[in-house]
């Protein structure tokens, strides 16, 4: 037995007696043969002569993989461990931890808050008020308040007052109907219809808005008599069909119609104006939903933890609090008062700065927060919120008092209205992005791409018009990075397109992974051309090996192509170059082109297009570039370019999991065929044949025939726009021409006509350019095709319709990919317009409404779902090691163990909560802390995200917090065995998600940011990008179920689809609904997989 294995095993006992079986078991585990390792250990542990170490090793093995047998195996160990021995204590402690993790959370319906009653069943009220049925009684009123604030009222024409929307009118009418039914149900609250022919039947039907057609008996049919009432009946989910059935069979109809109790924060009296204090608990709901200011106030206070809320309530008059409820709602989530003092971002060092800015000392918590809220209509609170979300050195930097004052004054400007909490979404988007993505160098100074001088010149000379007159003047004196930052902070107030800030973040992100930062002149050029080509810069961010010169060549090419007057040539050139760059990007991302060859490959591809001005040139450039890609990816021999390309697009060079690989290739082939694209090999074969014919060879008529029959399958371009549509948008002609030109290609005819002109015959390959373009563009589409890919399967012209030109007058050729043409029954269906730079997101966006919600009344969450699909589809897991997946699984397990340990030990609780506070806002953290104090680890675990567990575990190890259990030792073992594979950087690449908005890149990575709120201009999109839990959760699940990492390529898109379809969210920030869905789907997968495994095992037996 080697000593190194001791750490490997994590055994609790003397190393001297470890049997050899264990070494073998762990060797098997390390190479991914988990079941074999398990069997071996099981056998060894079950042996009559098994050492206790072996038995423990087996229990710990199961423990690390969340095996359902873990607890019972641990318990079986106890009789063999002497009472009072340290080993027994350790095992007992682990059992205690696992018991806590496994225990269901206590029902939180019994909170300490007073309650009110809502008439009728809660599910009916939830349906009418568009609330998730999963909400707890404690959370319901807060969610309702949000819906009332966002959807309950609208400006009325000609009057200043707001009027109720149809949504709210229906809720109000429903409450009235519910009360009528409740009255009919009597004191018991149970609605009972014993006979068809009775007065109560008549009363009920009248209330419901229905009547019986025909007399009582088996022909009874209920039909609408009062449409308004009937609508409420159906919309609220009253069991009308069951009532009808009971009447028909003259059997008892019974329906529980008792009112529902829901908690009210601080009790109803707190919210009622003094004149209405006598309102009963049943009337409160009517008062609540008809006053949007109360709802906003409720929403604001519900964001605070109880101690902070109490401090505010005590120190600030209610009217003042209510007047700034909007600020509290948007920026109060990070407020924290402890023992009367406000805990400010930056800590005690920053307190004087905050005191000066707010005009009140943090020593008096409530008063300080009140001053913060009202200052400048919420701008100071928004800055406070943005910095409070940070931690570490960046927070220290931004909250250094003098700097903080300087930056805030820049934000504030002279006019502070309107405040950032006035619009429907938070208006400090740019500030949030700047503070969260700012990077400090090793010297502790902010990273400024290029140099201060570049930015100075940008502001002074401003290529596309002045950014800001005052800043243009002040720029002349800039010397330090903070001068640039100050200007950027000043611009965060701009409501319109904030170009310099976007340039700054995009270029900062390009530099983030580069060994050598961009040169000054490169930064200068990129900044100046950002408006036209900025969305292409993601390519440079994603592949840090791209040299400055190649970037400049890219811009030169793009500029040259934009100058082509002929639309067909321009779109073919742009399409070909973008499609080839897109494929190169995919191959770099999947590590199919080694880092050393990436720049050269791109540079060569770009070089091919420098002088390509005709169809023939473009075809040659495209073909040569395909060869460059194949060579760069290590393709050798006579492999068919098309087959090879498809294999590469699956994401691996060598097939590691034939079943998964073949499945993905088949899915891609199906889409390829649905789009009637021409395989690369056929295109090249025709070109070769034409060349050969021009040199006196024979034209391959069979080949041409096959090509022609394929072309005939291309449907004619439909008239894509109705008259009405044409009035709205006048584009699309180039696409129609593109399709029609292809349909007319007939090589036999061309050959006949050119038979005497060899040059003409050779040049006939120019007719293949459009086909080559579509095939290459199509390969990009296919790689990113979302699960189901209904559009790509159904609309055979979807790829061919990609419009690289766009609306006349707006050069969309290099802009983000956008979805156009949804709706309008006469249209040819949606199409994508612009460049291919954000193709993954655009495809997911177009496809999302084909997902079918499994929850009644739920809708697909429009702004979040495309990013979730992108996160499932862009990353590939072919090269991920099973030990990396286990590494993630162990972290999640360790995180849970740490939380459970915190329920048992106060000291650990302090440490765990301290780590969690860097990710979790105060109110949720307080609730977790309270649950832990009560020993309810299950409830605490339920409210922590997988990504938060991951960070918790990582930090717990870094801070040497001892957590009982085998996970930390197993993590150490993996790190020791292969430090590179199990570094945070490697795990970030393996299980991260693409963040095109936050990080300007589709390269998957983990940023470990706090979950973002919704933001103006982005809705839930940035929230979705900051959501890193799904992949981590699925990786841990796969590890638990012993599913190989390569299978994630097939499973993660499907599991994500299921998760999306099971979400029932109440509002755009309802990430808990996403977490619930993730866990429900996970449990379903777990159960199904285990049942199938058991079935297979029984069949084998």
């Amino acid at each position: 037995m080697k000593l190194s294995s001791l750490a490997v095993l994590g055994i609790l006992f003397s190393p001297m007696v470890i049997p050899a079986d264990l070494d073998q078991a762990f060797a098997l585990e390390a190479k991914g043969s988990v079941q074999e390792a398990k069997s071996l250990l099981h056998k060894a542990a079950a042996s009559a002569t098994a050492a206790i170490e072996t038995k423990i090793a087996y229990a710990e093995f199961l423990d690390q993989r969340r095996d359902p047998q873990t607890l019972s195996v641990y318990r079986d160990l106890l009789p063999s461990l002497p009472a009072g021995s340290p080993n027994r204590a350790v095992v007992e402690r682990r059992i205690q931890i696992l018991d806590l993790i496994a225990r269901k959370p206590t029902n939180n319906a019994s909170s300490n808050h007073p309650t009110i009653q809502i008439p009728g069943p809660i599910r009916s009220f939830n349906r009418m008020a568009a609330l998730s049925p999963d909400l707890t009684p404690d959370d319901l009123l807060g969610a309702l308040a949000r819906n009332i604030v966002t959807n309950g009222f609208q400006a009325s024409s000609g009057r200043e007052a707001l009027e109720q929307t149809e949504y709210l009118k229906l809720v109000v009418r429903y409450l009235s109907q519910a009360r009528e039914i409740q009255k009919l149900a009597g004191e018991s609250g149970i609605l009972r219809i014993e006979e068809c022919d009775s007065s109560i039947t008549a009363d009920l039907l009248r209330i419901l808005g229905y009547r019986m057609r025909g007399g009582c008996g088996n022909e009874v049919v209920l039909e609408t008599v009062n449409a308004s009432r009937a609508f409420l009946t159906i919309d609220s989910g009253f069991p009308l069909a069951q009532l009808e059935q009971s009447l028909r069979t003259n059997s008892l109809f019974e329906y529980d119609y008792r009112p529902t109790s829901v908690s009210v924060l601080y009790g109803p009296d707190y919210w009622l104006p003094s004149k209405d204090k006598r309102a009963t608990d049943t009337d409160f709901i009517d008062f609540f939903i008809t006053d949007p200011s109360v709802c906003r106030f409720y929403l604001g206070l519900s964001k605070l933890d109880p101690e902070t809320a109490e401090a505010l309530k005590n120190d600030v008059p209610l009217a003042r609090l209510k007047a700034f409820a909007h600020v509290l709602d948007f920026y109060g989530g990070m407020f924290e008062v402890r023992n009367g003092r406000a805990l400010v971002p930056g800590g005690s060092r920053a307190e004087p700065g905050w005191a000066k800015l707010a005009g009140a000392s943090p020593d008096q918590g409530g008063k300080f927060l009140s001053a913060l809220m009202v200052k400048d209509d919420g701008w100071l609170a928004s800055y406070y919120d943005a910095t409070a979300r940070l931690s570490g050195k960046l927070q220290e930097y931004l909250t250094e008092p003098s700097r903080m004052e300087r930056f805030y004054n820049a934000i504030r400007g002279k006019i502070t209205s309107p405040g950032p909490a006035r619009p429907v979404f938070r208006a400090n988007t740019e500030m949030m992005l700047l503070t969260s993505r700012l990077r400090l160098g090793s010297d502790g100074r902010p990273h400024i791409p290029g140099s201060v001088e570049v930015w100075k010149q940008l502001f002074i000379k401003h290529p596309n018009g002045k950014y800001d007159g005052k800043l243009t003047k002040s720029a002349a004196g800039w010397k330090e990075p903070d001068d640039v930052l100050e200007a950027l902070f000043a611009l965060t107030r701009k409501a319109v397109e904030n170009e310099p800030l976007k340039i700054f973040m995009a270029l900062s992100d390009i530099n983030r992974h580069r060994k050598t930062p961009l040169r000054e002149e490169t930064v200068d050029r990129l900044a100046r051309e950002w408006r036209t080509y900025g969305s292409q810069f993601m390519i440079f961010t994603e592949v840090p090996q791209v040299e400055d010169q190649t970037m400049l060549s890219f811009l030169d090419n793009a500029s040259r192509i934009s100058g082509y007057r002929n639309h067909q040539i321009r779109s073919d050139a742009a399409g070909l170059q973008q499609a080839l760059t897109g494929l190169w990007q995919i191959f770099c991302r999947q590590n199919l082109i080694p880092p050393s060859g990436r720049d050269a490959a791109l540079s060569e591809i770009l070089g091919n297009f420098v002088d390509a001005k005709t169809s023939v040139d473009l075809f040659d450039a495209g073909r040569k570039s395909v060869q460059i890609l194949l060579t760069a990816t290590g393709t050798t021999g006579n492999t068919s370019p098309h087959d090879r390309m498809m294999d590469l697009l699956v994401g691996e060079s060598q097939i590691s999991n034939p079943q998964a690989h073949t499945q993905l290739v088949q899915e891609m082939a199906r889409i390829f065929d649905s789009q009637r694209l021409i395989p690369l090999s056929m295109i090249f074969e025709i070109a070769d044949n034409l060349q050969s014919a021009s040199e006196g060879g024979k034209l391959n008529t069979q080949l041409m025939g096959r090509f022609t029959s394929r072309i005939q399958e291309i449907q004619p371009a439909r008239i894509s726009l109705s008259g009405a549509e044409k009035n709205v948008m006048s584009f699309g002609y180039a696409t129609e021409l593109h399709i029609e030109t292809q349909r007319k290609v007939n090589f036999r005819q061309i050959a006949d006509r050119a038979s005497k002109n060899q040059e003409k015959l050779a040049d006939a390959r120019g007719h293949l350019t459009k086909f080559l373009r579509d095939t290459l563009v199509g390969l990009n589409y296919i790689h990113y095709a979302p699960p189901g890919a209904q559009i790509l399967i159904t609309n055979p012209l979807f790829v061919r319709s990609h419009d690289f030109i766009g609306i006349q007058g707006i050069n969309q050729t290099w802009r983000n990919t956008e979805v156009f043409g949804s709706g309008w029954p006469s249209s040819a269906g949606g199409r994508l317009v612009g460049s291919l730079s954000s193709l993954p997101y655009a495809l997911a966006n177009a496809e999302q409404n084909f997902l079918i919600p499994t929850r009644e009344q739920a809708l697909i969450w429009g702004d979040l779902v495309p990013q979730m699909i992108v996160s499932a589809k862009v990353p590939r897991w072919w090269n991920v090691a099973s030990t990396q997946m286990h590494f993630v699984g162990l972290h999640l397990r360790l995180g849970e163990s740490a939380v459970a340990a915190a329920a048992l030990d106060e000291q650990k609780r302090v440490s765990v909560l301290n780590i969690l506070s860097r990710q979790i806002p105060p109110a949720r953290l307080k609730s977790i802390g309270d649950s832990l104090k009560q020993g309810d680890a299950g409830k605490a675990i339920e409210s922590i995200l997988p990504s938060e567990f991951f960070v918790l575990a990582h930090q717990a190890i870094a801070e040497n917090i001892e957590i009982p259990g085998p996970e930390a030792r197993a993590i150490a073992r993996l790190r020791q065995a292969s430090p590179e594979k199990h570094s945070m950087e490697a795990i970030s690449v393996a299980f991260g998600t693409p963040k095109p908005t936050l990080a300007h890149s589709y390269l998957p990575e983990l940023l470990n940011l706090r979950t973002f709120p919704t933001l103006m201009g982005y809705s839930s999109r940035i929230l979705a990008e900051s959501w890193e839990s799904s992949t981590i959760y699925f990786a841990a699940l796969a590890d638990e179920l012993d599913i190989p990492p390569s299978q994630l390529n097939v499973n993660v898109p499907l599991w994500t689809q299921k998760t999306v379809e099971a979400i029932f969210a109440t509002h755009l920030e309802d990430w808990p609904a996403l977490l619930r869905s993730l866990r429900v789907v996970g449990e379903d997968i777990r159960t199904t997989h285990r049942n199938e495994t058991a079935q297979r095992a029984s069949l084998n037996d």
């Binding site: 449409a227 069909a241 073949t662 199906r670 090999s681 029954p825 409404n849 079918i852």
Partner: protein
């Protein structure tokens, strides 16, 4: 390790018709599914002609005569046509089964699988409850042999009641429908057709909507092609007046007639009930036959022709889908 994709793909092929190579790489194979063809026969006055036998018909595909495998009239149980032209009740549905939902059901070819697609978008807000009543009446009145599924849609599709013979289940699902927001009718219709295509036997989709679409990503004609290929007639009951939204009306007409269905413009509840009655009659008076296509090199659109052989039959009108495209496997 590197395996040949062609080998792997070939192993997965259950039943192959024509085989075609494109270039030397991608291999596409035409899958010969049994073709299910439903059609009605009417005289010049639009009256249904009943009582015809399989021997009264000739089925052509691209002009190639086809051998009928099963034949049924209305909701009567289908008959298997033997080689000598005699018939016997089709007992073993698996003999002609197709993979998917309902596989192995012995009654899979008896009755019609009716998929109702109910528009619950904002556009239907005012007529929502009346529409619900009309659909409930239709469901109650379906032939006992029929199965019914109720789907609803606004921006997304909801499977309110899966395919069932139990009318109460279907009506419970229907009555749970919730009013929604935007309308993506063609997206929803496509998804409904995809579900229906998995069911063996005869099936129809009935769309109940007032027309406008502001959310679909697929074009009506692309959806229509799917229905044609799968042999699923689409019936549309529009609650809008025919002239009010001429774009939607035109589309409704086109997708229904091209798939062998019909479009009704029924603004009032009474007209909606009448439309449903007409559909029910159509279902009860239609013929359904199946055949395995004879060898045909055409891998594109195959034109189907149904003829009544007798002289008198030449005056009859036959309403059927015009053709289909054979599916491919990879």
């Amino acid at each position: 390790m590197n395996i040949s994709r062609r080998t792997a793909l070939s192993m997965a092929v259950p039943l192959l018709g024509g085989v075609r190579l494109l270039g030397q790489d991608a291999t596409f194979k035409v899958k010969v599914d049994m073709v299910v063809l439903s059609f009605t026969v009417t005289d010049s006055k639009g009256r249904y002609i009943n009582g015809l036998k399989h021997t009264d018909f000739r089925v052509l595909e691209d002009g190639i005569s086809q051998k009928i495998v099963t034949f049924a009239e209305g909701n009567k149980p289908p008959m298997q046509i033997l080689d000598d032209g005699s018939t016997r009740p089709l007992l073993n549905a698996e003999a002609v089964g197709k993979e998917g939902v309902g596989e192995g059901r012995s009654d899979a070819f008896v009755g019609t699988n009716v998929f109702i697609l109910f528009d619950t978008s904002n556009y239907m807000y005012r007529g929502f409850v009346y529409a619900s009543d009309a659909i409930a009446d239709f469901v109650r009145g379906l032939d006992r042999a029929d199965s019914v599924a109720v789907y609803t849609f606004s921006r997304n599709l909801t499977r309110a009641a899966s395919l069932t013979k139990d009318r109460t289940d279907a009506i419970v699902g229907l009555r749970k429908a919730v009013a929604g927001d935007d309308s993506a009718i063609y997206n929803a219709l496509l998804l409904t057709l995809r579900d229906a295509a998995k069911v063996p036997g005869r099936k129809v989709v009935i769309v109940f909507s007032n027309g406008p679409d502001n959310g679909s990503m697929v074009a009506p004609d692309d959806v229509r092609v799917v229905a044609e290929d799968e042999g699923i007639p689409i019936y549309v009951i529009s609650t809008s007046e025919v002239n009010k939204d001429s774009i939607s009306s035109g589309v409704f007409r086109r997708i229904s007639t091209r798939t062998g269905g019909k479009a009704y413009f029924a603004k009032t509840w009474q007209k909606q009930v009448e439309a449903f009655e007409s559909i029910r009659e159509d279902l009860g008076n239609s013929y359904t036959l199946t055949y395995y296509p004879a060898t045909n090199p055409n891998e594109g659109f195959r034109k189907i022709g149904v003829e009544v052989i007798s002289d008198v039959g030449k005056k009859y009108r036959i309403r059927a889908r015009p053709g289909y495209r054979p599916s491919r496997i990879f």
